[in-house]
């Protein structure tokens, strides 16, 4: 029989070393996978992880893809630190895209370059409202936010499909399920001429710095950490757990909504039936890979963005299916969780020992 036995003192170095170890194990397992598929592992890993970084275009794309991941992950991480498990950032992102895109569609002829700010605010409010539902259900009925936020993700996806097939469909769009393209004034300004990278990346970076300052310096961040680490101590100190549920869910919802609005007013430029390759879910991996710390999340969002780019490159150059991206992200999370378990526990073989004690 196999059993797990708690270690007396988990090594402090390993707690931070685990993500590095998980990345190394992912690369090894990935090599084996490539070899099994008949590719030279060294060459395949090069295509997957190195070539996307070898051009200015690649680097700009990397930051573009990291933007929604970082925005969602920083919000989720603050919630996770407080013990609030928002799993529905994907749905909040989609509703943010609907609200931001809807605002953009109100101004088909533009008017001012500031209108894009309005679209961003609308997106944040949309995500916030969507996350407010699980917050209300949790505080009013004690309904588990993991389930409610996850289920609302599918509702959001269907709502977007209904809108682009029905009322918001572009009449000139040859019956394709898509909205009109937004006016130039409602598109985020580009950071580098000729690249798709836009001002959203700056906002994401500010969100990470803001999250860092809030968690480490503010009384609010202190409350988040206390409630997460020791709820009874939080109540003892006079903090209100219900308020933390509301705060963290609304904050993570607003940030995910902002990410959604940035996607449609940035690289996409219109509403489509599917506007995210699962950024909201992948952000959960980003948050844990970054150890729920803002700086860790910055690094993790860039790394995970690379798996998206690498997956695309592998699709083109190695003729691998797009699922390769998901496989790599999944392996990374699996190895990280496995490392975490083995840092806290050791594996023992055999049943509860009844060995003789005399020596």
């Amino acid at each position: 029989m196999l059993r797990l036995e708690p270690r007396r003192e988990p090594s402090a170095a390993m707690v931070y070393g685990a993500p590095v170890l998980a990345i190394a194990l992912t690369l090894i397992a990935g090599s084996l996978l490539f070899a099994a598929l008949g590719h030279n592992p060294a060459k395949a890993l090069r295509v997957f992880f190195v070539e996307p970084l070898s051009s200015a275009y690649g680097l700009a794309e990397l930051c573009l893809k990291a933007t929604p991941l970082a925005l969602c992950a920083i919000g989720l991480a603050i919630g996770f630190r407080a013990g609030v498990w928002n799993i529905g950032a994907e749905g909040q992102l989609v509703v943010g895209a609907i609200a931001g895109g809807g605002a953009a569609l109100l101004f088909p002829n533009g008017g001012s370059a500031w209108l894009v700010v309005l679209a961003g605010i609308a997106g944040a409010l949309g995500g916030l409202a969507w996350a407010g539902v699980p917050a209300w259900l949790r505080t009013r009925f004690n309904a588990n936010e993991i389930l409610t936020s996850l289920m609302l993700t599918y509702v959001a996806g269907l709502l977007l499909q209904y809108l682009v097939i029905g009322p918001w469909k572009d009449p000139m769009g040859f019956n394709f399920p898509q909205s009109k393209t937004f006016h130039r004034d409602l598109m985020l300004p580009k950071l580098i001429e000729g690249q798709r990278l836009n001002a959203g990346a700056v906002i994401a970076l500010l969100a990470i710095i803001g999250g860092w300052i809030m968690l480490s310096r503010s009384l609010l961040g202190f409350q988040v950490r206390v409630i997460g680490l020791a709820p009874a101590a939080g109540i003892y100190a006079g903090f209100v757990p219900r308020r933390m549920v509301w705060f963290t869910l609304l904050l993570s919802g607003a940030l995910a909504g902002l990410a959604g609005a940035f996607e449609v007013t940035g690289p996409i430029g219109q509403l489509l039936p599917s506007i995210s390759p699962g950024y909201g879910f992948t952000a959960i991996i980003v948050a844990f890979l970054g150890r729920l710390h803002p700086i860790g999340i910055l690094a993790a969002s860039l790394l995970i963005a690379l798996t998206y780019l690498g997956g695309e490159a592998a699709q083109i150059m190695l003729r691998l299916p797009i699922a390769a991206t998901g496989v790599f992200q999944g392996m990374l999370l699996f190895f990280l969780l496995a490392c975490d378990v083995l840092i806290r526990y050791r594996i023992r073989f055999g049943t509860l020992g009844r060995k003789g004690a005399l020596s």
Partner: protein, 503 residues
């Protein structure tokens, strides 16, 4: 059982160094020492929970290595922990059957339980459910459970902290019978008076080393305390005074309804604590202290605002933060996870309750510099043994964390201080320090409510004492007009008998 040159190191500290100890058959051997002196570590090694780094153990003359509690039990070593591990919804016999193992029929086991119980004066009905039993009875179940394996050495960690004085006498009778039957006892307690009454020999630990051994029957509690500390100390003393002025904390007809199973509900409790007064509430564990404390601190507000008043202001429905703004400070029973956040350092744990009372947050931002200074001051004032303000709360020993939490709350110079078990698990020197700090606060005009199971402590500190039993409170009495015997009867629920004894 003999230990020789035992050494155990943890990162940063040496918990035990060159400890040697002999326990003769039938001997009741006391292990004495301040918090962090290494008593628990030593006992854990004997019981196979920890492994010594150096040294040897021998058992009945043979050298042994005990690598698990199971190995210890096979040898004949039993341990009764401070916290019980019984299933509430099972009967006594079922609980014991789970621990003993084997496929002995329950009825036959029940007979054996009754027989063992009768032999050692541990009357217990094996068919009763554990949730119906009093704390003292539950402890008997724990002891019987150990005795079923016929141990030759029984380790007991602070066994009397949950007992009334009368129950303690019964326990001592049992332990003496065990000793006469040839079973050795290793007895850990901070109550030196008990050790004097019970034990044949005492080994004193300080800083992980054996600093002395004595025959407790020829020593006084004070001389033993001084051996533990390695110096003398000033014991707190106070003449009981009747209450004066308007009550700062007024409780009237307080009721709680938690709706939780196994919680003791508070039924119509009324009392007042006046400025400059130390008011004590006695009672065995589980008499409703936890529920009363949560209602008073604001962690579990009650429906009726007027049931609790601070300076005449109804606060029953207010939360903990609002009550702290009115000058309340509170030391809870649980130190880790309630009084302090385990993985946070002492600086952040100072902010935990001082963010408004000590202005350790200006507006919405933490003032870490001020918090660190405050933590340093607490560490110095109470003599907290810690690496410094950067030490994690979880890294402190229980007694040192208690000193830190008491110091933090007293440092807010509260108008009203509520303290649960102020010196639970704290050694005599530190206890005297905490007692003196509490009395100084009362002298300065604060109202203090002490809830404790230690009657000596209550009589030492309090002006008036009342007893909580099954969620009801006895009539408060001036400490000089009652005594340990009478309070002890009330702790057992005999309010009327105590009144008669009084009349």
């Amino acid at each position: 059982m003999a230990l020789k040159g035992i050494r155990k190191e943890f990162p940063g500290t040496i918990a035990n160094d060159d400890v040697s100890l002999d326990v003769a058959p039938g001997q009741i051997h006391a292990l004495l020492g301040q918090n962090g002196a290494g008593k628990s570590t030593l006992v854990k090694m004997i019981y196979g929970v920890l492994k010594p780094d150096a040294g040897s153990m021998s058992w009945e003359g043979r050298s042994v290595e005990i690598d698990s509690p199971n190995a210890a039990r096979v040898l004949g070593i039993g341990m009764v922990f401070q916290h019980f591990s019984l299933f509430e919804s099972l009967t006594v016999a079922e609980n014991i059957s789970l621990a003993v193992g084997g496929d002995e029929p329950l009825a036959k086991l029940a007979e054996r339980v009754a027989a063992v119980g009768a032999r050692f004066g541990l009357t217990i009905d094996p068919r009763r459910h554990v949730h119906d039993l009093s704390v003292g009875e539950r402890q008997r179940v724990e002891i019987v459970r150990c005795l079923m394996r016929e141990p030759k050495l029984l380790i007991m960690d602070e066994p009397t902290s949950v007992l009334t004085p009368q129950e303690t006498d019964v326990l001592f009778g049992t332990l003496r019978k065990l000793s006469e039957a040839g079973c050795s006892l290793l007895y850990i307690s901070h109550k030196l008076g008990e050790i004097q009454a019970l034990c044949h020999k005492a080994t004193i630990l300080r800083g992980g080393r054996v600093v002395g051994a004595c025959d407790p029957r020829t020593e006084s509690p004070r001389s033993m305390a001084e051996m533990m500390i390695g110096g003398s100390f000033a014991e707190a003393h106070r003449e009981p005074r009747p209450p004066r002025g308007q009550a700062r904390l007024a409780v009237a007809g307080l009721k709680t309804a938690t709706g939780l199973p196994f919680a003791t509900e508070i039924k119509e409790v009324s009392f007042g604590v006046h400025p400059g007064e130390v008011f004590g509430i006695a009672g065995v564990a589980g008499s409703g202290q936890a529920e009363l404390l949560a209602a008073l601190s604001g962690e579990a507000p009650v429906a009726d605002p007027a049931a609790i008043k601070i300076d005449g202001k109804p606060v029953g429905n207010l939360g903990a933060a609002a009550r702290r703004d009115l000058g309340l400070a509170f030391v809870p029973e649980e130190r880790l996870g309630r009084g302090a956040v385990p993985p946070m350092d002492l600086t952040e744990n100072t902010i935990l309750t001082g963010y408004r009372a000590r202005k350790l947050a200006n507006g919405s931002w933490l003032d870490r510099t001020a918090a660190r200074d405050e933590a340093l001051r607490i560490i110095a004032d109470l003599g907290v043994v810690a690496r410094g303000p950067e030490a994690e709360a979880a890294s402190l020993s229980g007694g040192n964390l208690q000193k830190f939490i008491v110091g933090r709350e007293i440092g807010q110079t509260p108008r009203l201080l509520i303290v649960a078990q102020p010196t639970w698990g704290v050694d005599a020197g530190a206890a005297a320090r905490i007692h003196n700090a509490l009395l100084a606060l009362a002298e300065a005009g604060s109202a203090i409510l002490v809830i404790s199971q230690d009657l000596d402590e209550l009589f030492q500190l309090c002006d008036r004492v009342a007893v909580l039993y099954h969620g009801r409170l006895s009539t408060p009495t001036l400490a000089s007009e009652t005594d340990v015997q009478r309070i002890g009867l009330q702790m057992g629920g005999m309010f009327e008998a105590a009144e008669h004894a009084h009349a």
